[in-house]
Symmetry: D2
């Protein structure tokens, strides 16, 4: 295949939008594998790149095929690869880490200081093929639908966030019901949470929150704090999973937290948070707050396998649309308009949809 070309969704120039380009099929390095992409799902990060927002402008160097959530079959392996073989059905961890920084050498490679991200810093998976380091490969059950296999990557973010503490018997609040918030609700239910509160302003998403297991889907424009205190005997939730990045939701979340509670934050505020009530939110409450970046490599993936592979969380309601790769513009528009939760693209034709 080396020397041949393929189709890929490319950020061609430093401007909004993307094109379906013809580019060379990557040649795997000694320690890489080449994957024939069967399904890829679209991340919020991809929308930032598509819209070409300030973050994307500062980070991405066009022309670049983007996309990073993927599943496919290995079709070629580099000469040094011993842990994967042609024919394996795999997904990929998208953080390519250095292996020698302090973080990598102490079991925290998810916050590697020299990380490269697939589809951001190097060619991505919105294409027929992608080359990735063998150490980033995750082997899937061959019977798993490819779109589910691809969605394990963002689901992993939710796993890392939700299982940062023991949720069994806990009252939990998820602020923000985008795809990862919805995943987190499903994980909280599977992990034995007691009451699960979820906030958003989109009624469709609150309905999906209920489907995933939220016992109390709440419109964040209502008096969420009072509702939560009422339902918890005045105590507040044991655990806050912050998925929105919105200052008002963050404030609401911390005010709903009980004294001595635990907070995992995955949501990224677009700017600094104005008026953060550090004294009341963290100090007086004796709270513990944990910042979540990526997935623990590879603890999170093992947990994901048990949850998704073991059917403890059904991801299918969250992946609402299935399209061939060439309809990527439709896919992006569906997500930008909020009509889709998560969309799967298929470079070699739709398969395994539900």
């Amino acid at each position: 295949m080396n020397g041949e070309t393929m189709r890929g969704v490319q950020k061609a120039t430093a401007a909004p939008g993307a094109v379906l380009a013809t580019v060379p099929i990557p040649i795997p390095a000694r320690d890489e594998v080449l994957i024939r992409v069967r399904a890829t799902t679209i991340c919020g990060t991809d929308l930032h790149i598509y819209k070409w927002d300030p973050w994307a402008q500062s980070r991405l160097k066009p022309p670049m095929v983007f996309g990073h959530e993927l599943a496919g079959d290995i079709v070629q392996v580099g000469v040094d690869v011993t842990t994967a073989k042609v024919g394996d059905f795999v997904s990929a961890e998208t953080h390519i880490v250095c292996g020698y920084c302090y973080q990598c050498r102490t079991g925290a490679s998810h916050i590697c200081r020299n990380v490269e991200i697939i589809g951001v810093d190097r060619p991505g998976c919105f294409a027929e093929y992608i080359a990735v380091p063998a150490v980033n490969i995750w082997h899937n059950d061959p019977t798993m639908p490819p779109a589910l296999a691809a969605a394990q990557e963002p689901f992993g973010n939710a796993v890392h966030t939700a299982l940062a503490t023991n949720l069994a018997t806990r009252n939990v609040l998820v602020t923000g019901c985008g795809p990862i918030g919805l995943f987190a609700i499903g994980i909280a239910r599977a992990a034995g949470a007691n009451q699960i509160f979820a906030t958003d302003i989109n009624p469709k998403r609150l309905e999906m929150a209920r489907t995933m297991g939220a016992t109390h889907p709440l419109d964040s424009r209502d008096d969420v704090v009072r509702a939560i205190l009422n339902a918890t005997g005045g105590e507040g939730v044991d655990v806050l999973l912050e998925m929105s990045g919105h200052p008002s939701a963050i404030d609401q979340g911390f005010r709903s937290l009980r004294y001595g509670g635990f907070v995992s934050i995955l949501g990224l505020p677009a700017n600094v948070v104005p008026e953060f009530d550090l004294a009341n939110h963290i100090v007086f409450k004796g709270a513990t707050v944990y910042g979540v970046s990526g997935r623990k490599m590879f603890e999170t993936w093992y947990q994901t396998r048990a949850l998704v592979g073991g059917n403890k969380v059904d991801l299918r309601p969250i992946i609402t649309h299935h399209l061939p790769l060439e309809e990527f513009e439709t896919a992006f528009e569906l997500m930008l308009k909020g009509e889709a939760a998560k969309v799967a693209l298929y470079p070699h034709g739709v398969e395994g949809a539900w």
Copy 2:
């Protein structure tokens, strides 16, 4: 003694200042003991009460004898008391907790929802005698100087903050070198910290920081972040102990923290923090942040005994002045002018000073 009177420093009216009043000697309840106060040390909280700032106005109900850091001898015990006897030389935990809220029933009574604080919500120890519940008593070595014994209470705040994580071999930053920050530096040294950075703007306090064990006392108006990154191979400190409550010091502290670092916050910002960079300070860094309120009851006191009683931390340089109780106004002025670190008052005459 019941029915007799004593002298006590009283917030007499809802206005700045305090007076030396004659008040009844308290009568201990069934589960309380009466302590003859031998030494009491002045806390920042007492300065707030003295100045009658907005917090004090909202919380204190004059007339009230205040003060809460104390050591003395038990002179009377309530009928139900079995764990202390007349003649015991004791200090006191100043949080009087309810024992039946969720926090109290799960080993977190330091964040009791119904706490009463000595010298704030009920009569304090700037007086010849004080009554406190027997469960709040802490027995001291009879040979300990009374001012040291009294200072164990604020020292405990530093212990709770500093030993919230394992400091051995860690690079540590203490932001704010007031008495509790200085205590924390001494604890970090005793607990085997590697490099100890300390920031303040007061040169005298930075000099005391060095005495207590700071390897790098730094003026916070200099480029502290660069200095710390240089000294840590570009990594940043493993642990931040925030003792200042100042937004700029908080920001500096988080920017000096390594990826995956740990933060204990005891400092209380006077207002909400404007412009808190949650994404960079906590989320991307994968940081863990713990809010510190009071002392763990009584884990912190056992740790304090080992540190102070075992001479692993010498508190004496921090208690810079020793005065009879009636000179309380001099004492407050010394602290307000920044000429004293911590002042000890003696209701029955100065003893054991150094």
Copy 3:
């Protein structure tokens, strides 16, 4: 009621068996409440007392009403009691702790050095009434069947054991399917465990294990280690919950544990364990082992409320028989013969049975 008498199952003399005696209704102390017992369940400890085995002989001082798992209504409160009132439907934590030993003062009162146990060191609940300290009271939902409410106490042992680590996504082995092992299986399922292995030699208990959620009930006389390694890709279980106290089951459990696994031990070997393979079981494996005594006070009870009250674990299949108190001999025989899992006795008539 004070001065009146009641019926109680009493160990009358230092010999096997028990009698239904007429004894005075207890008079609650200032800090105690008097409970009209509606249901009580029989513990393994009660069988030891009934049989009068060496442990019972060394600990119990006849004559003594025994029994400690209970639920009932408060009918009288001591003068100092503020946290409970006549009419409350309650259960009781059966460890009466001193409150001033190191363990009690550091959040570990479940291992209080001066503990008194209800029904062992002081009169128990196999009677119409019992007096217990108000701090030991646990308030129940008034609609909970009394036998379920009583069984929360032993269920709490299983909660403490099982939730000592995060079970979500974990492969778990429960060795020993007595009532507490069966409870633990239900908790593991509710807490999101992945595969749940359970061992015993009694086919009836293995069948109950399956009912409670075991995915792999295994006869411990078969090659359990091989079966577990096969089902876990050669890795072994992440977590072992040891409930049997049998040296061979303990050995089997440790050999089935993965490298880096976690072990909670509640089962009490009758004697020292001969031939414990410390090097292979713990050191080379890098295992963590936690010994479980009683219930965390009261963290475990809050967790129990969420699990039982929230219907996440259905205890009813484990309580197999319901009898009036006077049929206690039948009850003990059913348990000694292994025909019953757990039996409920009703001092004032059977109610709420299923």
Copy 4:
């Protein structure tokens, strides 16, 4: 250098003893470096190999150069190596791990299922040169004496054991004062332990224990348990660091542990432990026990750098003898007779001794 020969201490045949052989200088693979060994220290494992005990017979395949504690200069690097260069002064982690087993992928590579150990499973460092994978290299301060740099490896075992919990303010017992036990005492002192108890039967070792910081060196044939209870107010030690592997010392250690204490076990019993009192040692005590294998990669090395490089623990008293490599037989005899604690060998001439 490739193609040339060097001198190395070799287990030449399956029999006791060793010879100084002439063997080829290793050729580093693509991802390896070649190190000119400046100092190597002798481990207890090397004595097992020298004596050819049953463990050695079952594991080692002669002929093999053994030895694994080393420091030296890199003289050649494989073509794929980017993280080290010729001239670097380095030590080496001696566990060569697979990188893809569950343990390696979840931050626990110290218990890798496919580990190869330098000097046991592949040629070691009792030689002029050794080839090791670049990922196993640890960079040293160029001014560190080579024998200290070599001894960081066994010191790391003590670090892993001692810093498995927070020792600050804790009373600690170290059972067994061989070199690693002595290291652990020094670490406990540096980490702020309160009282440090140490047991052994060898008076010389107990004297060294005192030098390293033991406050109570105790002959294990005396009533150690009583002495410890007396010195700790009847409570027992907070932490036991088991370094002996002797059943009686293990029993003594557990009996000296307080309720709720923590145990790290590095000592390897030669056989199964007869009569292990699991109920009293672990269950009733509510103890936590952690098995220690190797060093955490590379958390332990960073901690070691801070302790040894920062002069918080002085290892020099433990390395009692310095000899040229060719006097290896003298070295082994000194250790077998108990006349040396740890011996350093120098393949290219003694340097930096004290």
